[in-house]
Amino acid sequence: MHAPDGFLNAGTAVATGAVGIGTVGMALRQTRHRLNDRQIPLAGMTAAFVFAAQMFNFPVAAGTTGHLLGGALAAILLGPHIGAVVVTVVVVVQALIFADGGVTALGYNVVNMAIVPAYGGYGLYLLYRRVMPKSSGGVVAATGLAAWSSVVLAAMAFSIEWLFGATAPISFPQVFGAMVGVHLLIGIGEGVLSALTVGAVLASRPDLVYGAQDLDRSQISDTRPVGMRAFAIGGLLAALFFAAIVSQFAVDNPDGLERVAEETGIAASGGGHALGGSMFADYATAGIENEAVSLAVAGIAGTLIVLAVGGGIIAAVREKRHDSVRI
């Protein structure tokens, strides 16, 4: 997901840059009282861990591997504000020093890889926790679902940025379908690995898991796996979110048809775009018939991202009041 320079247009880069700077600035202000001299080495060490974790390839199938993005994991281990800051540091250093991801692409890379997964993932984590039992098992299961969702959210965020800032004539439904489809699968690895990692930390240092600080000692030692019912409800919740959006357009997805139409010249008589001259790049709504659908899909996906990210930020700001001791 480390997009290079010039991948999205300049306006999108500037807009996401502003969102990125604004949000990270807020996160830094929120964490100022916690990021005292004690916390900086810890945050730096965790940033190194996230960096290393991104090099940590896990098997997917038959020898192919994927790697952790770590946004949701960092948010659940450290809290969403520090999680977002830590992953932002990683992304910025990767762009500047390791040439991994473009420097002018930092705006959207930070939004997609740090802000959306950390806040959105944390918001959904809190949501999943509600249907899970108050136990280690519940935390682990909610982490898995939240990490999986965070990757899908990030893919959606990227697709929506593509709608505004496409640099190639590939329509939004195509990009959305490919990105979200692939990340529904990639996210499984992220979910499993994040859940097991949090489980391993809970087993040895439960005090280090920010997202589990509401548990008391007996609840932490309750490591029984979550019952089928709770997991099914949580899974259903997650699936509902995404299925609602993906199925929406999967039915209307005119890829094949569109192709035929263009090649046979039907498209030529299709008339001008209803949205020609609007802020949406022509590319993004290149599908002739499905502009309304793709905008609707983008709208729903955008609302979902805003809800999850906003929920995460609000919850984090609220939690701040009663946690003065922990990182």
């Binding site: 320079d5 880069a13 730096g44 473009g102 692409a105 004539p169 590939i170 195509q174 391993a200």
Partner: protein, 254 residues
């Protein structure tokens, strides 16, 4: 670990590019990449000028081409995507060697490949001629918040250590004949990731205790007070000023 440790992307040298003040280099590199990013894709000549000027910087910095080529693959996944664009893009189709490709898609692919390569090359030159603490120092002169810089500094200091720890864990697993290939074999990897997190965190606690006992008060002491020589700003400005002139010309003519 240890003092004076250079990262893998650094190329030791004493060229004029190496000796430039880091803040001038960071600012110049950033301005150059911005100019590249907003250049219209049809202005092929502009990209040629950018490439030539970067080649000149490579030469002035004594950076062998080999070194650059070995580090460019970081952008490969997106380049691969760029090569797919002409085939999946919509729009006017043209024939190349009997295969129908989208004209607009070809331009889009060229756009991504050119800008990604130039951007990555600039970052690689910056990293090759500037040590990490200097890059961070340059960023702080350029007013990046100090908390951010401190976190990045700790991260870079311990990154290698943690990555080595990681590879020891990996090696230990492999030495015992464990070579996971499927996603359901992921548990040992995840538990070692968990162990790594706890170890990193506890190391952070120990490092902090050690630092406090040596008088750490939340800010790193500045050992050498130094001003950016104006001549460095001037030398570093050559590249972005050239690029800005080119981009203005390109925007006017296309």
């Amino acid at each position: 670990m240890g003092a004076g440790h250079a990262h893998a992307l650094y190329l030791h040298g004493h060229s004029r590019v190496h000796r430039l003040a880091p803040e001038a280099k960071v600012a110049a590199g950033f301005a150059f990449i911005v100019a590249v990013a907003i250049t219209p894709r049809e202005a092929v000549w502009a990209f040629a000028i950018y490439a030539i000027s970067l080649a000149a910087v490579l030469w002035a910095g004594d950076i062998p081409l080999r070194f650059l080529l070995a580090r460019l693959p970081a952008v490969l996944p997106f380049i691969a995507f760029a090569f797919l664009i002409p085939f999946i893009a919509s729009g006017e189709q043209i024939d190349i060697a009997g295969v129908a490709v989208s004209r607009d898609g070809l331009w889009a692919a060229w756009n991504i490949v050119a800008k990604a390569t130039l951007g990555a090359t600039t970052s690689i030159i910056l990293a090759a001629t500037t040590e990490v603490p200097d890059i961070l120092k340059g960023m702080s002169v350029l007013r990046v918040p100090s908390v951010f810089i401190s976190i990045a500094a700790f991260m870079m200091r311990y990154l290698e250590l943690i990555v080595e720890e990681l590879s020891r864990v990996r090696m230990a697993m492999e030495a015992r004949g464990y070579d996971p290939r499927w996603v359901w074999q992921v548990r040992p990897i995840a538990s070692s990731a968990g162990a790594l997190f706890v170890r990193s965190y506890e190391r952070g606690e120990r490092v902090h205790a050690a630092m406090v006992s040596r008088g750490f008060d939340g800010t790193m002491p500045v050992l050498t007070e130094r001003r950016t020589p104006p001549s460095d700003w001037l030398v570093a400005a050559v590249l972005p000023v050239l690029a800005i002139a080119v981009v203005v010309l390109a925007l006017v003519t296309t």
